[in-house]
Symmetry: C2
Subunit: 260 residues, 2 copies
């Protein structure tokens, strides 16, 4: 997008859209996908920013916050019907739009007064999403000029507290693995048990014996074997499976133990 078109869009946003939205409250999305045996997060590159940022959005006055998060996610990934869940709200008083981004926007020729709305302190509601890498078609947003899927275990520098957001989202994911069909959302339709195993190890951040993992998953009846193997080089070919979605849902106990 050229400078002039961007200026027009930003000016329009500030003049007409912001007044329909809740001020000082935003939504940040931590969008996870699983690709090349790694857990990835979708990040955007803000105009004139070196550090990356999470996809963000605002809430219309007559809009449910969950709906706003979903709308935002759809704008950013083209995906509907995805797993999306609120995990925490972040409200340090120093959460302001990054300085350089402010400068970049003003340098478009925007009246500083009209941009005030954007440059106030923001409280942000964090959501995390689980999306299928293959089916996702990421789009940069108004204030950004590119995107990237980054490895969650090796993140580049992020603006503000976005690093903390990702970490908290991951912590939540760790707990939710007991009660949510994580595999179903993150793995491709056909997958191998080693892939599923890898996903668990990344999310739980610890080693899990692969033989015990396999046994447990096979015994739980949530996997339907396909008569296909995945093609990989130099090794025995792993079998492909798909989820028995109903059985998967049922097997998620969410049971709370006594503790200790």
């Amino acid at each position: 997008m050229n400078q002039e078109a961007l200026r027009t869009e930003v000016a329009h946003f500030l003049e007409f859209e912001t007044q329909k939205m809740i001020p000082q409250l935003s939504i940040d999305c931590v969008i996870f996908s699983f690709h090349a045996d790694k857990l990835k997060v979708l990040l955007l590159k803000g105009i004139n920013q070196e550090k990356l940022n999470l996809p963000s959005g605002f809430i219309y006055q007559d809009e449910n916050i969950d709906t706003a998060a979903l709308r935002n996610l759809k704008e950013r990934t083209g995906l509907d019907q995805v797993f999306l869940q609120q995990f925490h709200t972040f409200g340090k008083p120093t959460r302001y739009f990054p300085d350089q981004l402010q400068e970049a926007i003003l340098s478009l020729g925007i009246d500083a007064k009209k941009a005030d709305w954007l440059f106030q302190r923001f409280v942000t509601i964090g959501y995390y999403a689980l999306v299928n890498y293959q089916q996702t078609n990421p789009q940069p947003s108004l204030f950004s000029e590119g995107f990237a899927w980054e490895d969650v275990e090796d993140l580049p520098p992020l603006i503000l507290d976005h690093q903390a957001l990702v970490e908290t989202a991951l912590e939540t994911l760790k707990k939710d693995i007991l009660t949510q069909p994580i595999g179903l959302k993150l793995l491709p339709d056909n997958f191998t048990i080693p892939q599923f195993h890898q996903l668990y190890e990344i999310i739980l951040q610890r080693k899990i014996d692969r033989r015990n993992f396999r046994k447990k998953m096979l015994l739980s009846n949530i996997l339907i074997p396909l008569n296909e193997q995945k093609a990989i080089k130099g090794h025995r070919l792993p079998n492909l499976y798909r989820f028995d979605e109903a059985a998967y849902a049922l097997s998620l106990s969410g049971e709370v133990k006594m503790g200790f």
Copy 2:
């Protein structure tokens, strides 16, 4: 408080305080305590309201949201240094100040225009607190005229979505029992194992074999026996214990199992 004094206070709040606060964003506290073998929630009675409400508050522009929640809790209970934790943010577009309460406030002789700030849609950040019943001295807030500790298993009608807030807080508590020293926060300094057992049954909402519970707790070394019994009538006197706080903290694993 008489009508005139209240009018002055509310008018002052609307004129001078609101402008220092983030609009359309509030904090609601679900304050739990354990008393008479029941889990209780602190509720307020709004002016001219039949339904009860949770203690709420607002956030100053330069204030951390956690700090705001703590300030609010202190104003309402006199307690500092309590267990306080954010659990969810609620944002249905229909979350407005209750009609009757609006009327009651305006009927004080407040200029409707000045009260606009209060009568907008609010998104609220839910926190839950665990307090010691004995040490708590509840205070009504600006817009309320009384308080009550209500049994969490038998709540009276609440305004808006406050019932849902309590339920979600309880769900969170259910999960946090694995990782947080719930007993330490909710039980009196000296307590009996049956009391501790009762607390677990209420929070987990299921029966736990009392013999297995006792065995587990005693073996975990988190309990220090006192040479005293609690006086109750008509039964064998139960022994009193206190927590070994360090051991309790250590024993909280928070370990995430593989699931299923």
